[in-house]
């Protein structure tokens, strides 16, 4: 299990480093807003799914929990942020491609957690997770547009 843990920690670090290195079209205030919102939204989503609905069981030992936290607190928010950044800088067809790719990457990570026995799906399928990620991404994009409208109104960013 330690090798898997190392894999998730390495992935998280690489993801954060890549995000900081790559050129980002969004203004830092927007990115701050997005990362705060995503952390809140993603942790709430998984709390509802795993604690309230009991559809996803997360292993209650230390190592699997840390692996899941890497996914939930670092990888997923940073990936979403990365995709929203790209989403804002390209044409419509590329946007759709980026959207689809982002959902696939999220699903791929969840599938990895499944085969590593970090999480167990109880009456839950990957297609439901896909719907969850699509909803999260769409809601985040809408909330971002609303916040951006305020920033444009205040003259903090330009169109």
């Amino acid at each position: 299990m330690l090798m898997e843990l190392l894999f998730w920690i390495t992935m998280s670090i690489l993801c954060v480093i890549t995000y900081f290195i790559v050129h980002k079209p969004l203004y830092i205030v927007e990115r701050l807003f997005l990362i705060l919102f995503l952390e809140f939204f993603i942790t709430s989503y998984f709390a509802v799914i795993s604690v309230n609905l009991e559809q996803i069981y997360i292993e209650k030992q230390m190592v699997p929990t840390i692996m899941f936290l890497c996914f939930e607190l670092i990888l997923l928010p940073v990936l979403f942020l990365f995709f929203i950044d790209l989403f804002n800088s390209t044409s419509l067809i590329k946007r759709l491609l980026i959207f689809g790719l982002s959902i696939l990457v999220c699903l791929g990570m969840e599938w990895l957690l499944l085969i590593q026995d970090v999480i167990v799906h109880v009456n839950w399928g990957l297609w439901q997770s896909m719907l969850g990620y699509v909803t999260m991404l769409v809601v985040t994009i809408i909330i971002h547009y609303m916040f951006k409208a305020i920033l444009i109104d205040e003259g903090v960013v330009t169109k």
């Binding site: 807003f33 809140f40 309230n52 916040f147 920033l151 205040e154």
Partner: protein
């Protein structure tokens, strides 16, 4: 999100506190732009959510928020409740231009007030400790409040640049 198991005193405390704090925020003379205020609110709300997630979760479960360990609608309102207090904290700091050693005093006073306020909410059963202690909250606020001030200064620098 689930509805409360029993709608009683702890839910009423959160509702009254939330409404009163938002009324005070609206009543105070405007000091920051809307986007700035949104970021301060969101920062406090997210910190509350993440702390709760990490120390009141599956492997470390030191307290419950509201009636159960589940994610209730009133848990969400409790996180939002932190927003106005972060706003007041920044508001007073900015209005009175607190600097130097007065900042240390300000942080200590606010930490004591926040701990006492949390003590009141423990008494009203908003938080149910299962290994957590009010003294830990004191240390926690002592760490979070300077971080909030750093966040404020960082934001202010960004906004002043524009």
């Amino acid at each position: 999100m689930t509805l409360p198991v029993n709608f009683d005193h702890n839910e009423i405390v959160i509702l009254i506190g939330l409404i009163a704090s938002f009324i005070i925020v609206c009543w105070l003379p405007k000091r920051f732009s809307l986007s700035f205020s949104v970021l301060v609110f969101l920062f406090a709300t997210t910190i509350a959510r993440l702390s709760d997630h990490l120390i009141s979760g599956s492997i470390v479960d030191l307290y419950d928020v509201m009636d159960s360990g589940k994610y209730e609608i009133f848990d969400l309102l409790t996180y939002i409740y932190y927003g106005p207090f972060a706003y007041f904290f920044i508001y007073v700091y900015d209005k009175f231009n607190i600097k130097g050693l007065r900042t240390v005093l300000y942080i200590i006073v606010c930490t004591v007030l926040a701990t006492l306020f949390e003590g009141f909410h423990v008494f009203m059963e908003v938080f149910q400790y299962k290994g957590w202690h009010l003294w830990y909250s004191f240390s926690f606020y002592l760490i979070i409040q300077p971080i909030t001030l750093i966040f404020y200064h960082f934001l202010k620098r960004l906004y002043d640049k524009r």
